[in-house]
Amino acid sequence: MAKLDLTTPVRPLLRPGRAGPSRPRRSARRLVRGLWSFKALCLLPAVAYVILLFGYPAVFSIQLGFYSDNAAQFITHTGVFVGFANYTQLFHDATFISALLHTLIFAVVTVVAQFLFGLLIASLLNKQGLVYAGIRTLLLVPWLLPLIVSGNIWIWMLDNFYGVINYFLVTLHLTSHYVAWLSSPNLSLWAVIGANTWLGIPFNVMIIYAGLRAIPVDLYEAARVDGAGPLTRLTRITLPQLRDVTGVLVLLGIIYSIKLFDVVWVMTKGGPANASQVLGTLEYQDTFELNQYGYGAAIANVMLVLSMIGGIVYVRFTRRGIRNG
């Protein structure tokens, strides 16, 4: 979706004092008034789009969260208003609490791991030349694959019997027996986190690489003249200079993790015994498998609030970034 940015070119004209001092004030004011309505007209499609396709479903979901609806009640319009009952039930539901916890673990671990791997790979590839450009392109492949494909590849790699991961673990004598990666309640969450980290690394590499390119080379040269070692250069130049990039990656990563569904659904469906259940999969199961629409909507709304907190922080952060820049 293209971002409609009308503010930048129009702004000078909105300030009549600065716009054209030579023009008479009256016509300038008329022009401004005309521009306002023109601006509103231009915004209309975008506003309608947002209201219809984001506002309406969001409001409907919030409303549904206060109702008892299951599928049959939904069809016959016999759902009953239950106030906050769905939410009360939610926070007494051990499955929901554990899904919330899993989501948080998921968010923290993937974001940190993706950033560290991203930084490492981006630093290694931060060189000119065709070979490096080629490797950078190849790195994007995991990101370009449809998730259903990469998810299934991971299922095969992690399979107990014929998975390549178990094959190497046993051949290299790292374990004596096959590990049930996706079927063990102690491991399934970590197996999915691993797969998701792998999926997110290319994106991190690309963003961090762009950030690294933007750091002036003279900073490093000056530091080297002053006798700074590699570690000092990393902690005193690279990381501080990547601050904005890091912020964006962390916040986007957290938002993506909160709404996470696809990887978990493809790989474990939240099982075994809810061991890898996250908010997204739990919401899907309660809504579309147990047909508890009201209860499912309540989970969705909790996710919405969590994502919005992340979103607000993100917007604040980027705004500050722009101002600073």
């Binding site: 209201i51 506002g55 309406y56 409001v59 409907f60 919030i62 409303q63 206060f66 109702y67 299951n70 599928a71 049959a72 009640q73 939904f74 069809i75 016959t76 319009h77 016999t78 759902g79 009953v80 208003f81 499955t95 107990n160 019997f161 014929y162 096959y178 049930a180 996706l182 079927s183 063990s184 309640p185 399934s188 474990t268 469906k269 939240g270 099982g271 075994p272 015994a273 809810n274 061991a275 199961q285 579309f288 498998e289 147990l290 047909n291």
Partner: protein, 435 residues
Amino acid sequence: MRMHSPGPRRTIGLTLAGVTVSLLAAGCVGAGGGGGSTASSGSSSSKITPAVPKSGQITLTEYDYYTTPGGITAMQDVIKAFEAKYPNVTIKRQEVPYPSVDKLVTLEEAGNTPNIVIEDQDYLDQYYPGLVPLTTFFSNSFINQFLPGGTQSVMLNGNKYGLQIFGGNDTALIYNKTDFAAAGIKAPPKTWDELLADAKKLTVPAKNRYGFEIAGSQAENSTWQLEPFVWSSGGDLSKPTTAAWNQSMSLWNEMVKKGYMPSAVTGWDQTAEENHFEDNNVAMEINGPWNVPLLQSSKLNWGVAPIPVQQSGQTLQVPVGGEGWTIGKSTKTKEAASAAFLQFAAQDRSLNLKAVNSVGYLPSIKSEISGYSARYPAYSVFADEFQHGRARVYGNNYGQVSAAIQLMIGNVLSGKASVSQGLSTLSTTVSHIKK
């Protein structure tokens, strides 16, 4: 009474400008919801005869998920034959890949219920409001041509909604004859003791080969596979603390603990389970008749036996799976014509038998099932068991009970809970679910 009355809709105006403030207000708009008429019992005296109008063109919509090549052909053949008999009727088929119930619920909510609905009976409690009870059109003698297990599976609130016209399915013990010969086992196990002993003999740790497997992933498949064990030893869904439950789960648990069954089954659905059987990782599995074509095209030397019972003499009770053919609410003419289509599809026996076989199911019509084993020997065990098939029903809330059972199975088999802990938690959960 049967006409779909729209009832007060929960309208959210398009005036969403002041989003946050209006949210709660919007929530209150729909509070007076109670209008829509739910399905009324059709068992009253006035029956409507299933019939196609004598004159005038009529178009019926039909909704199903028979998306396999065999299923598509079977459905198309029936529709073609019906249209040939009644040229003034056109049936518009809509095949929706499984799982298709969400789309059906959406269609019903919008007042666009298809005239003929063929949907997974497991979700009847979700989509029944758009349906007309069968007794509106059919006499009990017509309905009783079908096996009770199938008809009861498509029943809710005392109303019969559907018939398994293309048949249904169940589960049995599928075993590898080569492995049996190698382990010196002459006949498939009949009791749990034999099952356990055979599983032990068939387990070869050095070759990473296991004796037995089930589909234990957190989905309906795990409940569906546990049910024959629980039911055949006298257990019931409403009381999960009984001996039947404890013994069934102890059997499965022992299989894992002793290493006869891979602990990984907690992540396997029935497809993954079948793959491991066909790859010769496991020598015995519980699975359904839809695997017969796959097994026939594999290189395995395989056999099918009834699922072992706890003690010899007990009657095996397997759950019935499949989908009901149901009639969607519309005009009286269209409903009667839809009923005529159901009647036609069931009464043309040769067409019906061919359809059942090409879908890979077992016939639900009593007169067809008795001769089915002789006609299609590969399905004989499944067909014999199917005659005593039992419906998976728990009021309107089977889905919730099953979800709790699935969780219990996962917890026990993965060692997170003991059998008694798992069952006591399950019992607490089930006691809160309305039957």
